[in-house]
């Protein structure tokens, strides 16, 4: 019958939000396949039945969680708004961005892993992710344009840059490959990026 109810009472809305939060948290923490609806309901402090009045299924809960919390957790640069850039002094800016990224990843390491995992196994999550990724590219690009960067292939370059930063952060936070000097690596990445826009 597909009778998903959109709650109208204030209490109900809160309850729906609780479910989203609980579901998203649990899935991020323990993985999609290791989280069941009963747990989600329990964590949210509701009965199992109510879950299916607000959501199609478990998957739906996660997607809504993604839409609610995803941006903040996974795409901090979307709200990056450092409008004034001193072109001649771009290094601190880069460091700032990288720090933003790293800090953010550190807070929710596990969530990041689970999300990346799902990006590669769940079409809807992939769609969400790539869309936000593109938006981030646009956001950064626009900041650059606003600061008189008049480079060709700006989109491509920003995309490459963000990819490099992402790799770097991931490297720093997760692998901890021995033999790898992360301070040097960061320096190299930044210089490479600066060169990119010359």
């Amino acid at each position: 019958m597909n009778n998903i109810r959109e709650p109208k009472q204030k209490r109900a809305i809160e309850k729906k939000e609780k479910i989203i939060k609980a579901g998203f948290n649990l899935i991020c923490k323990n993985g999609y396949y290791n989280t069941n609806t009963a747990e989600i309901a329990k964590e949210a402090g509701v009965s199992t039945g109510i879950v299916y009045q607000y959501f199609e299924d478990k998957h739906d809960i996660f997607i809504e969680g993604l839409n609610t919390y995803g941006e903040e957790i996974f795409f901090p640069l979307l709200n990056y708004n450092n409008q004034m850039i001193d072109i001649k002094n771009i290094k601190p800016l880069m460091k700032n961005m990288i720090n933003t990224y790293v800090k953010n990843h550190k807070v929710s390491k596990i969530a990041h892993e689970e999300i990346i995992s799902m990006v590669h196994s769940d079409e809807e999550v992939a769609k969400y992710y790539y869309k936000r990724e593109l938006e981030t590219t646009e956001q950064i690009k626009n900041i650059l344009i606003a600061n008189n960067f008049k480079d060709n292939n700006l989109t491509e370059k920003v995309h490459i840059m963000l990819g490099m930063i992402d790799n770097l952060c991931h490297e720093i936070i997760y692998h901890k490959h021995k033999n790898m000097n992360y301070e040097e690596m960061t320096e190299i990445v930044i210089n490479t990026i600066i060169n990119l826009f010359k």
Copy 2:
């Protein structure tokens, strides 16, 4: 119990290999959670029972598959052996590497997605993956050294380079973000890499 038997008879060894192959293929194609042991056994042409005489569990099958086929599929550069590099003419080499990567991804798109997914959700897969990644870095680094590259931070630079190539390939094969010119992008990546080693 842990009575995993290591087969010694030729026929038994073949049987084990069949299971690995079948399991690995199915999981790569349909995903770990969408593949069950009955299917694997059927695809391998053996009984379900025998599976648990050669393997600890489903997970084990996949890991062994990874060890057997992973290198060829996911880390082609490990066998990259173009020893003689003309430093002055490095562009074709880069293009070659990128092509190797892209071609490889294209052949087993779905497998790549599944593997990346598991890297981010399964510790053992992650361990395998990062180890091979590091080996690839070493391999490329050694080639460079053999060609008299005497750069500092070679490890870090190679790692950055490989990350860029990986991103590029992924971009080319999967997203197909509109507004993104992949030929230009490839060009930029190559130039950036070349600069990296100057």
Copy 3:
């Protein structure tokens, strides 16, 4: 608790009737087990809660629907009032009766199926059905008596007759067994009935 409320206000009475109508229609159309109370409430334009103030349970709704609409749909002959019968010209009367039946079934094929199904699985429905069936027998019998039929075993004969007509109609409307000529069959049935009363 059993705090079933009998509504007295006009608006409340209408509401109850709406629920009966909605419930009865949905159950007749989709089956008892494929209809849930939420749907009924929605179709009736009321809240789910109110349903349980007017009715014991889902079953109760259906029974009340049966009492309200059953006669008209399932027992049209109860109001059959063709008092004057020309005994010598009884064939058209028979044809008329059969047509009444067939027409009636055709209008609510699905409802008939569902009802017959429940007669055979729900005691209360069975009770209702057999009672009305008997009443119909009496009704027809009385018409015959009023027309000076003074046969022995009139009750039994009428019952047999109605059974034959019912079978015939069901045959005509549902099975469509190939090899079965329904015009001939109708003719045979009528003649048989006429013989019955000779």
Copy 4:
């Protein structure tokens, strides 16, 4: 995946049969919707899991039960083989048939009710039932032909006859309408049938 297994080992075949028997019995006794798979498994002395290795679903169990036991229970006349009929002494034959029917119904009253219920609510059951009904008609018709009945519309007449017998039996066994004299009724039905074939 729809991996329904057809058991090959003797023990497994017996187990499948046990499930069919248990499922069919329980459903016949308590109704389709009042019987769950756990009960069926328990009654059959097997685990719930095994049920789904041999059957698509609960419905499937019932259909197989129908195919296995249906004929004997619901269509005893299919094996009615009283080849030699003394046309002049047909009454005892009729009585015999009716007795066969009544006896049969009495043994499995509840099963009959459930089955009729499902004929009117489940397409597959309906299909089975009407097919067997037609076969019964053919069977009786062929007996008549073998005994030199050369009537027109034999199919129709036999169908009408069987319908009458069915009604009669049902009447005798279930309703027990007061005011109804079943001996007389039987007599009337038999005479009517005899007339039918004159």
